[in-house]
């Protein structure tokens, strides 16, 4: 059984991560890859890197996907479990630090706080409508100053007299930063001020009203930024633990979930998926006035999954489209029920009822 392992894939907004663990939760391989806007391609690239690194004898016993692209990635690789990223991150942190009480997670697009008591998640919160205080903001600021994000981090830590930057909103923060820059503040001080503004915003918006107790674990892409870590420990007056796998904690948690969910026969489609020509195709469902845009994931003309519907009619189904589709949008008087009766029998199996009923003449 030594050659069995579990795969966790985290498809986030900025990066795609893969982690392979042994059955007892030890990380064997980790891959962090910044995605170039195409989740399928980056998942495939991750898998092909894995295929090079992994010994032939290793067998993947279970796969779990997480992150905002989890459903699509799950369809592509054939995931056994598809889990939300909040649970995945909490699982990983709890595995490494069983006594953790608070988890901060700041990723590219959203930031979350998870409150843990006695080894169980009791509360969580996610940024609602504002993206200030996430990694993409730092990214864009670094790009504006023409430095890499790593450089921003190392410069910020050296600051001794951080500048005060308005952090309520990214747009105002940016104009404030430009203003401070023009009146001659040092760049490292502005960097540190930016980190502090981001942390202030995070603590007041995302952690609003939450009881934050140490030990605090900080993970997600932004946790690589030393300046943010410093700002956090200054603001909370406690040590911030940054795990050694901080960048891939989501994927690690997903792999742990896969290893703990008693998978008998994995649905994984094999590591060679990396070389398959996977494409997507969109079409409009049109069975009801919702007109959902359904995305079909195709592997060499075979449908391997569908996403994008609202009513669950298409989700995860791979059957031919004609069988799944109903009788088109509800017409002037909706499809007559006596017709349905003869085709599908009594209520037991009727797939062709609209999710949204249009009364009277159809909308054009």
């Amino acid at each position: 059984m030594n050659d069995s392992c579990y795969l966790g894939i985290d498809v986030g907004s900025i990066s795609t991560n893969c982690v392979i663990i042994s059955p007892d939760g030890e990380v064997l391989f980790e891959i962090y890859k910044r995605g170039e806007g195409s989740p399928i391609a980056s998942v495939q690239q991750c898998l092909s890197i894995l295929a090079e690194q992994m010994p032939e004898s290793m067998r993947i016993k279970g796969v779990c996907t997480t992150g905002s692209g989890r459903i699509l990635a799950g369809a592509v690789v054939g995931a056994d479990v598809i889990k939300n990223e909040i649970s995945a991150h909490a699982r990983a942190a709890l595995h490494l630090y069983p006594d953790v009480q608070t988890i901060f997670e700041i990723g590219g697009q959203d930031s979350k706080v998870t409150i843990i008591r006695d080894g169980a998640v009791v509360d969580f919160s996610m940024n609602l409508v504002c993206a200030a205080g996430t990694g993409s903001f730092l990214d864009s600021q670094a790009r504006r100053l023409n430095i890499t994000i790593e450089e921003l981090s190392s410069r910020a830590v050296r600051s001794e007299n951080p500048t005060n930057i308005a952090g309520r909103c990214t747009v105002f923060a940016e104009s404030d930063m430009i203003h401070k820059q023009q009146i001659g503040h040092e760049q490292k001080d502005i960097m540190m001020g930016l980190c502090q503004a981001l942390v202030r915003n995070y603590l007041s918006n995302v952690c609003n009203g939450k009881d934050i107790r140490p030990p605090v674990v900080f993970q997600g892409g932004v946790s690589a930024n030393k300046g943010i870590c410093r700002a956090f420990s200054e603001a909370l007056k406690c040590d911030i633990i940054v795990p050694s796998y901080n960048m891939v904690m989501g994927a690690y948690g997903a792999a742990l979930i896969a290893s703990q969910s008693y998978i008998e026969q994995t649905k994984f489609r094999g590591i060679q998926v990396a070389d398959h020509p996977i494409a997507t195709r969109g079409f409009e469902c049109g069975d009801c006035p919702n007109c959902c845009e359904i995305i079909e994931v195709l592997d060499d003309d075979n449908v391997i999954g569908r996403t994008g519907g609202r009513c669950g009619k298409w989700e995860g189904k791979t059957g031919p489209r004609e069988l799944l589709r109903g009788k088109g949008p509800a017409g002037p008087l909706a499809p007559s029920s006596s017709d349905l009766e003869t085709v599908c029998g009594p209520c037991s199996r009727v797939d062709d009822v609209p999710d949204l009923i249009q009364m009277c003449f159809p909308k054009k």
């Binding site: 209520c347 009822v353 949204l356 009364m359 909308k363």
Partner: protein, 382 residues
């Protein structure tokens, strides 16, 4: 045939459509705001108003484009913006140069203006109204049955299919007898769905703004997402109950609000408008009834719901019931909503497991017939 556009209030639109027939005209509506309509409304409305107004506005603009001449808009008595929806929508549509005529629910004299305008005969007027009341009752029953069955169904999607199919039939039924037949059939159909009787689903209450509680397009199908996560939902807006409340106010001078404000008294003494008092009172009641959690749907920019958010946080802390805050606007994406709801269901499941193990531990140490321990047990697991 003359058509009248009516606002979307979820599945109850089917019943409202029958009510419109009492005026001798036909209704034009759908059971949720379509994405197209939402787009139109967002373009036409001021940016900072709440999403329900944009949804209704877009719906009426779409109706006008389809050639509908009349529209009807409810105006609630709550002290929130909903009261002025009709005037605002009317003004915006006038500015856009649209011709649709919007009626409200106001009384000026014996007959409401909408009845005076169409002037139907007494028989054509009364009969569909009784039919409407019956339909509302049936839809109430369907909703409740769907909440209960969805989390325990064996084949995922059965409940939604049965429900949607029955709703289609209901929207076609023209006579009271047909509606009564559907009611009987509904009981049979829901009983036929194979369910897992051993499963004890999590129970979650939905509170918040009414358009969001009802409109599948606005709340991103929250009942379905939660139901398929194995959560039994209780949505605190049933039109039947609201109408019961109104008739009780008129006939018996008993307002449910009095009862609710008694429950919420230690948290909220004054009215803040809308359904905010309901949100607080129902959260407290659910906590006392042993619900696992609450979900609060709040459009960003909705004054009443935003003002009770800190109060709900307090309730959550005092009563030890997790309350998930959901803030919606037109930029809210479905993936974010689904992620939060899934994580929330995970949290509730873990809490329940933890509570159970706690009970187990207490059980093992001391004999269970001790009165003190029993009290403790009841507290942990009511």
């Amino acid at each position: 045939m003359t058509y009248m556009a009516i606002p979307n209030i979820g599945n109850y639109t089917i019943a409202l459509a029958t009510a419109v027939e009492s005026l001798g005209i036909k209704a034009w509506a759908s059971t949720a705001t379509t994405p197209e309509a939402l787009k139109l409304g967002i373009n036409a409305a001021p940016e900072s108003v709440c999403l329900p107004l944009k949804a209704h506005l877009g719906h009426f603009i779409e109706a006008d484009r389809a050639g509908v001449e009349y529209a009807f808009m409810v105006n609630s008595v709550g002290t929130c913006r909903l009261r002025y929806y009709r005037h605002m929508i009317g003004d915006i549509m006038k500015d856009l140069g649209l011709k649709i005529k919007i009626f409200g629910l106001g009384f000026d004299g014996f007959k409401p203006p909408i009845v005076r305008y169409f002037d139907p005969g007494p028989v054509t007027f009364v009969k569909p109204l009784i039919h409407t009341a019956l339909k509302i009752k049936v839809i109430d029953e369907l909703e409740v049955a769907a909440w209960r069955t969805r989390p325990v169904e064996v084949n995922q999607g059965d409940t939604t299919r049965v429900m949607n199919r029955l709703l289609v039939e209901l929207s076609e039924s023209r006579t009271m007898a047909a509606t009564r037949a559907i009611r009987k059939k509904a009981a049979r159909c829901f009983a036929e769905i194979p369910i897992d009787t051993e499963k004890r689903p999590l129970r979650v209450g939905l509170v918040g703004e009414i358009s969001f509680l009802r409109d599948k397009c606005l709340n991103k199908n929250i009942e379905y997402i939660l139901g398929s996560q194995g959560v039994e939902v209780r949505n605190f807006f049933l039109l039947g109950e609201e109408l019961n409340n109104i008739s009780r106010i008129v006939l018996l001078n008993q307002n449910r609000r009095k009862y609710l404000s008694k429950i919420a008294d230690s948290y909220l003494q004054c009215t803040v408008g809308g359904h905010a008092l309901d949100s607080v009172a129902h959260s407290i009641r659910c906590a006392d009834e042993g619900y696992d959690g609450m979900v609060h749907l709040c459009p960003s920019g909705c004054m009443p719901e935003v003002s009770v958010r800190p109060i709900l946080k307090r309730v959550s802390k005092d009563k030890d019931i997790p309350i998930l805050e959901m803030s919606y606007d037109e930029h809210t994406c479905g993936v974010g909503i689904a992620t939060r709801l899934e994580a929330f269901a995970d949290v509730l499941r873990e809490r329940r497991k933890k509570k159970r193990s706690l009970v187990h531990r207490v059980d093992m140490v001391i004999k269970p017939n001790n009165a003190d321990i029993e009290k403790k047990l009841n507290k942990v697991c009511p």
